[in-house]
């Protein structure tokens, strides 16, 4: 009986005019505002349909997918190595972490372990990326709250990070630096002193922004107690990373399941207490310092690279090398290095064997070897020719790294062919954006900007 009455709202309205009038009043007071998909205060393309009562958000509906590029579908059609450049474009603010996460999944499938030096390089590059990511996130969200100076200080610092990344990988963002079994090339000469010099400037800029923002009345009032999420809710949504740590849960994959070289370095996992925007800001600021610390420890622990070896190598032009090999004059090729173009620096044989696993089924031989002996040439062909390439044995593996926003996981399924059967990305900001439907409710419209800034939504990984 009661069910019947509920089924027809019109009947209900007629029977209870007072309630109907209140409802009409409620509807009149509520206003629907569309924020996005393209909005100057929202970096990234996302649509938030808000229902407002005055300036208070009563309901928020998030619409994503505007940057969908079919990453997972494309990965099934390009071969295992071909996926690497696509992973750069997932979280394009810290692409190196994506590279290494994907590499780890494939390495797990193939049972390969990268050499120690490669692991150190991965640790260093991942931490540089994390600093760059946090600089962007904090800087941009401060700018959206009108603190443009802080943004400029952080962009200046990020520029230094990009310069270091460019020195190592040859590109700023689309780096494609990870390789299954290691990394593409060794660190360039003079990298460590240059990085240490830059770290001083970065630290100075971070201190400057601390002075500008941390005790700033306007900034504090807008960040404190806005965008609050509690630990239980955060876990319910599957949120990891700074967003979870801001609620007081000291969970960091680098500590919980150490990969790369994180078990050999000391660092602190900063946490907040209230799970609001301000705590997340503080967590990110502290994490940058910790990341720089990790890099410095790696610099100290790393065995010196071969570029510091005692005997300088003898170089030979690549074309001379190929000619000599064609005429079987191989005795003059022993211990010679091919002179490579400057953009391939760090990939000579003596570097290569230190930064990538000695595994012919996955790692490319150095170009010097490819030019000078037939086995390496065949090996090279087998890895680059269409329908060949890396072939992990049939099976499945899930590997996760601590991305700048939380757990970045890759679930790879191989059917034994040269193409992945399935590559699934678990994007860290996906659950965070999902939680916005709850987090934004009850706050003010102006808080959306502050909260959305601290979410650090990256369209590339959210929509894939």
């Amino acid at each position: 009986m009661a069910d019947d009455m509920k089924q027809d709202p019109e009947v209900e309205r007629r029977d209870n005019p007072a309630a109907a009038a209140a409802e009409d009043d409620d509807d009149a007071r509520r206003m629907v505002i569309n924020i996005g998909p393209s909005h100057p205060a929202m970096h990234g393309i996302i649509r938030i349909v808000t229902e407002l009562e005055g300036e208070t958000v009563r309901k928020a509906e998030i619409e994503i997918g505007y940057l969908h590029r079919a990453f997972e579908k494309s990965a099934e059609h390009v071969g295992w190595n071909g996926v690497m450049p696509y992973t750069d474009r997932l979280n394009y603010v810290s692409p190196l972490i994506n590279n290494f996460g994907y590499c780890m999944a494939v390495e797990k499938l193939m049972g390969i372990r990268p050499p120690e030096r490669a692991e150190y390089i991965r640790t260093i590059m991942a931490e540089l990326s994390r600093v760059g990511d946090h600089l962007t996130c904090v800087g941009a969200s401060a700018m959206e709250l009108n603190a443009f100076t802080a943004f400029l200080y952080f962009m200046a610092a990020r520029e230094l990070i990009y310069e270091l990344v460019e020195d190592v990988t040859g590109a700023r963002i689309t780096i494609a630096y990870g390789r299954v079994g290691g990394v593409r090339s060794d660190l360039p000469e003079g990298f460590i002193p240059k990085a240490l010099g830059f770290f001083k400037t970065i630290r100075k800029n971070i201190a400057e922004v601390h002075g500008l923002l941390t005790r700033n009345r306007i900034f504090y009032d807008r960040m404190r107690d806005t965008g609050v999420i509690h630990a239980a809710d955060a876990l319910d949504y599957g949120i990891m990373g700074p967003f979870l740590r801001g609620t007081g849960v000291a969970h960091d994959l680098r500590k919980a399941e150490p990969y790369h070289m994180y078990s050999r370095v000391e660092f602190v996992v900063p946490t907040g207490t209230r799970g609001d925007n301000y705590d997340r800001y503080l967590v990110r600021m502290e994490e940058m310092e910790q990341s720089l610390r990790i890099c410095e420890q790696c610099f100290k622990q790393m065995a010196p690279g071969t570029h510091q070896a005692d005997i300088p190598p003898e170089y030979l032009d690549a074309n001379q090398m190929v000619d000599a090999a064609k005429h079987a004059r191989t005795e003059c090729l022993i211990d010679r290095e091919a002179r490579l173009s400057p953009n391939m620096e760090g990939q000579e044989h003596r570097h290569k064997r230190q930064v990538i696993a000695d595994d012919k089924t996955a790692a490319m031989p150095s170009l010097g070897k490819t030019y000078s002996n037939i086995e390496s040439l065949m090996n090279h062909f087998m890895l680059v020719m269409n329908c060949h390439g890396i072939r992990p044995p049939a099976g499945e593996a899930y590997a996760a790294v601590e991305g700048a926003n939380g757990e970045l996981g890759f679930y790879a399924v191989s059917d034994g062919t040269g193409y992945p059967h399935r590559v699934r990305v678990h994007p860290p900001c996906f659950p965070i954006v999902a939680s916005l439907e709850q987090v934004l409710v009850g706050g003010m419209v102006a808080d959306i900007i502050a909260t959305f800034g601290s979410v650090n939504m990256i369209g590339g990984e959210l929509d894939r």
Binding site: I64, G65, H68, A70, E72, K73, S74, E76, H77, K108, L109, G111, D233, L235, D236, Y237, G238, V249, H251, A256, E257, G395, E396, A397, Y398, E407, G409, Y411, V413, H421, R422, R424, H426, F430, P431, A434, S435, Q438, D463, R464
Partner: protein, 158 residues
């Protein structure tokens, strides 16, 4: 054999199909009917404590019966342990129970699986496309969806 596998095998013998530990990832294959009960157990059991539903996805195996596999990744924060649960789902009736009553994270992940693979989730409060738009036809991550297929243009026409 991992602890979770042992417990699930003993407790849910009627829907337990298979288990393996390839590359160190503890994996259990279950009959789809059992997922809601198993998930509720995993979450509440004092020994296993799988309190995070990390990921829900699916894999299409054309030519295999059942054709689809829905893959769950659970994570236990206190134990730092992971568990993968796979459900074989038939092509003619691609439907499994939703985990949204247990985890809020299931909401969007299940929407994505519906969007990409066309697998329905019983009891999901808002099962609509998430990455694609409503007028999109087909489910793009199915293997029989051609990578170069064109879709009709949407949006305002003038």
């Amino acid at each position: 054999m991992g602890r979770a596998t042992e417990i699930l095998r003993a407790r849910f013998a009627d829907c337990f199909l298979d288990a393996h530990e390839q590359h160190g990832d503890e994996t259990v294959v279950l009959r789809p009917a059992g997922i809601a009960a198993v998930a509720a157990f995993l979450r509440s059991d004092a020994e296993l404590l799988f309190n995070v539903l990390m990921d829900v996805t699916a894999v299409d195996y054309p030519g295999r019966t059942p054709r689809f596999e829905v893959v769950y990744h659970f994570y236990s924060l206190p134990r730092r342990a992971r568990l993968r649960i796979k459900l074989p789902v038939p092509e003619d009736q691609p439907e499994v129970d939703s985990l949204t009553p247990l985890w809020k994270s299931a909401n969007w992940y299940e929407r994505e699986v519906w969007d990409m693979f066309g697998i329905r989730f019983r009891g999901h409060p808002n099962l609509k496309r998430i990455l694609m738009y409503e007028a999109f036809e087909g489910h793009p991550l199915r293997k029989d969806y051609p990578i170069k297929k064109r879709q009709p243009l949407i949006g305002p026409m003038n």
